[in-house]
Amino acid sequence: VRSRVNSEFVGELLMRCALMLAVGLTVVFLPRAFDDYFNYRLALVGIYFISIVGLNVVTGYNGQLTLGHGAFMAFGAYATTVLTTEYGVSVYWTIPVAGLVTGVFGLLFGFPALRLSGVYLALATFGLAVSVPLVAKRASGWTGGSAGKVLPLPQSPIGSLSTNQWLSYLTWAIGACLYVAAWIVLRGRFGRAFRAVRDAPIAAVAAGLSLARIKTLAFAISAAYAGVAGALLAIAIAFVNPDTFPVSLSILLLTGAVVGGLGSLEGMLFGAVFIQFVPKWSESINNHAPTVMYGLILLGVLLVAPGGAAQVVSRLIVRLKQTFRPLYSRTSRSSPATQRSET
């Protein structure tokens, strides 16, 4: 049994890696096919992907509704900004540091906040989303206030790549690693614990799990992902100010995660594309269209496919299977029979 589990794990791990490789290949070739601005937006899609994979850990797998994910991104972005502009640290080194620092911040915030649940936790995290930009405005010594801080735009270390192409590769390479890491964590002991706490908290406690510990852990992991995403955002835009992280960012991130499919890591690919392109696209229709559009899309998703894009895709696959299975099974069953009759 043990070896069966292991080979299953290796098989599935390979599959996930292959999925990311496919995405990676797309990312490698797409930048060459479109203009430079597209690469920049592709990098932003990668950043949102990382962010909502983290959001999915806490909201999708652990069942805690958070409206403050943008605040954690801000935290990571400011960590990178302060380290680079004040202490001269290379931007790349700030990425893991920002993830770590934001993870610890999430842990500390999680201790008191996770005594709350459901709508109360949502409100507490919403408070975080509202207050972090305001604090950043006041602490202008470090953050530059509303005027913001400019970071050096990284130059591509590979000569043939433009800055934007390099940014796109960088974010997607990190995104792929973090996706596989999230998958490994979620399929194992912790993932089971996360889901148990989400689906049956009382049973989870009876089974010996500590609710507070599990919830705080999920929260910290999610914050760390947001921190990395925030750091990458600061590096890609090369500018950070409090208005980069409005309250609406947190809501947009949650919308993206829901549209992509809570509880599905692959769905976050779709969610990230949604976050990057839908607001711009709907803005081109009407200035006030984005908010209306989120509302409509969110309603539509919740009514038609509460599992988001991931659910739609898996339904489609089931439908395809049903369509093709009769054909497939008839030929496979009938052939031995005909063979037998012939012989």
Partner: protein
């Protein structure tokens, strides 16, 4: 496994869709052909500084006039039509960055022209200089644009710089208002802080202590009441306001409400114009606004003395033709047109073989006395990184009876030794 195949399929499909879109890049600078030069900028068409929204419209109107053969040197500039794209950044530097990258990387503009706001231009300065894209004639008078030209050779300002303007007020106070207790209400960024720096220079070392209090606000603040109460409490009798038009109007209205009328008020020339002060008068009453001192450098469309001036006639004709329905008494259109005039002069001087480098070279070696929208006697002059302050003459003006009256004479405040 099937899920994986699906993902792989999607990836391959998107590749197939994407590849034909491949773009070939040429060698000439982007955004310029023999028939067209494409420029762009960001402006606050919405948000806390949206009262400046007419500026890009005024610029575009003048470009349309030149494109149609106005100015008498054929259609366009050196055979090229000027295409001007302006986007709304809502006075949010984060948006300025995003939209400027869009203009440069997606719209492939030749140069960023006239983008508005001090923090906004600071946010894109490093990027544009790194990419060697001209950041031409920014719509902010922060002193840094001219002072830092060695470090940022692709950036150049346009209007008189804020520190020099404030130094004018400082010298005026030192000469005429001995013993004045000066207070400053300023926007918390380089724009506002320039006024404090300039004021200290103007007052001189011996009078610097006359500044008894300074209070700042954020551009998004909706009230400046606490700041004004603090300044009054500090015994201020001479107030300097270095705020955007919206905040400035709020400041006048608040002073009327709390019953405080400082003996003297000096207000930045980006807000104290005949376009904005009437609103302050309406909200605060004439008594609260009368006596406000500022400086001028462009012809005020509301000033009757320009009724028969050729430049202002041209301005009104262009407004009537290209912006019918817009109110020509709004001086922001005139500001936009005066700036567009300098842009056209620079493009013309950059020559037939237009490159980003030749444009910057032209902008930094200019000596033009012909701008019809600026005050008579004004010279638009630069000399490489030694002097990157195109306009630096101004004249004092006082608000009385619903309009500005200039006093004294036009003088040059070109910063020396910067």
């Amino acid at each position: 496994m099937r899920r994986f195949l699906f993902a792989l399929g999607t990836a391959v499909a998107s590749l197939v869709v994407a590849l034909p879109g491949a773009l070939a890049s040429g060698h000439a600078d982007p955004g310029v052909t023999s028939k067209l030069v494409s420029i762009g900028g960001t402006f606050p068409l919405s948000g806390p500084a949206s009262s400046y929204a007419p500026i890009p419209a005024g610029m575009k109107a003048y470009f349309s006039y030149v494109n149609a053969g106005g100015g008498g040197k054929g259609r366009g500039v050196n055979g090229r039509q000027i295409s001007f794209t302006y986007l709304d950044d809502g006075y949010n530097p984060a948006q300025t960055v995003a939209l400027t990258r869009q203009l440069v990387e997606s719209n492939h503009v030749f140069a960023i022209v006239g983008s508005l706001g001090t923090s906004q231009n600071e946010a894109i300065q490093q990027y544009l200089n790194q990419q060697k894209v001209p950041q031409l004639y920014v719509s902010t008078g922060a002193t840094e644009w001219g002072a830092n030209n060695k470090q940022y050779p692709w950036t150049v300002g346009w209007q008189p710089d804020y520190q020099s303007e404030s130094a004018v007020y400082g010298r005026y106070i030192a000469a005429n208002m001995a013993g004045a207790k000066v207070g400053v209400l300023y926007q918390n960024d380089a724009f506002g802080k320039d006024y404090i720096a300039g004021l200290e220079v103007g007052l001189g070392a011996s009078h610097k202590s006359q500044i008894v209090a300074t209070r700042s606000s954020e551009p998004t603040d909706t009230s400046v009441t606490n700041q004004l109460l603090d300044l009054r409490r500090a015994g201020v009798d001479t107030l300097m306001i270095a705020e955007l038009p919206g905040q400035t109007i709020t400041a006048y209205a608040t002073m009327a409400k709390i019953g405080w009328k400082p003996t003297n008020i000096f207000t930045t020339n980006v807000s104290a114009t005949s376009t904005f002060l009437p609103t302050a008068v309406r909200l605060a009453g004439a008594a609260a606004v009368d006596g406000t001192i500022t400086t001028e450098y462009q012809k005020d469309p509301n000033d009757p003395k320009w009724a028969n001036d050729a430049g202002m006639k041209l301005y009104r004709a262009i407004m009537a033709k290209y912006l019918p329905g817009a109110d020509p008494s709004n001086g922001n259109y005139a500001y936009g047109m005066a700036k567009a005039y300098t842009v056209v002069q620079a493009l013309r001087a950059a020559g037939k073989n237009l490159t980003r480098e030749s444009l910057m070279n032209a902008a930094l070696h200019m000596n033009d006395k012909s701008n019809p929208f600026l005050l008579p006697g004004m010279v638009t002059k630069t000399n490489g990184s030694k002097d990157a302050f195109p306009i630096s003459q101004q004249i004092l003006a006082r608000w009385q009876n619903g309009g500005f009256t200039t006093f004294g004479s036009l003088f040059d405040t070109r910063p020396k030794g910067l």
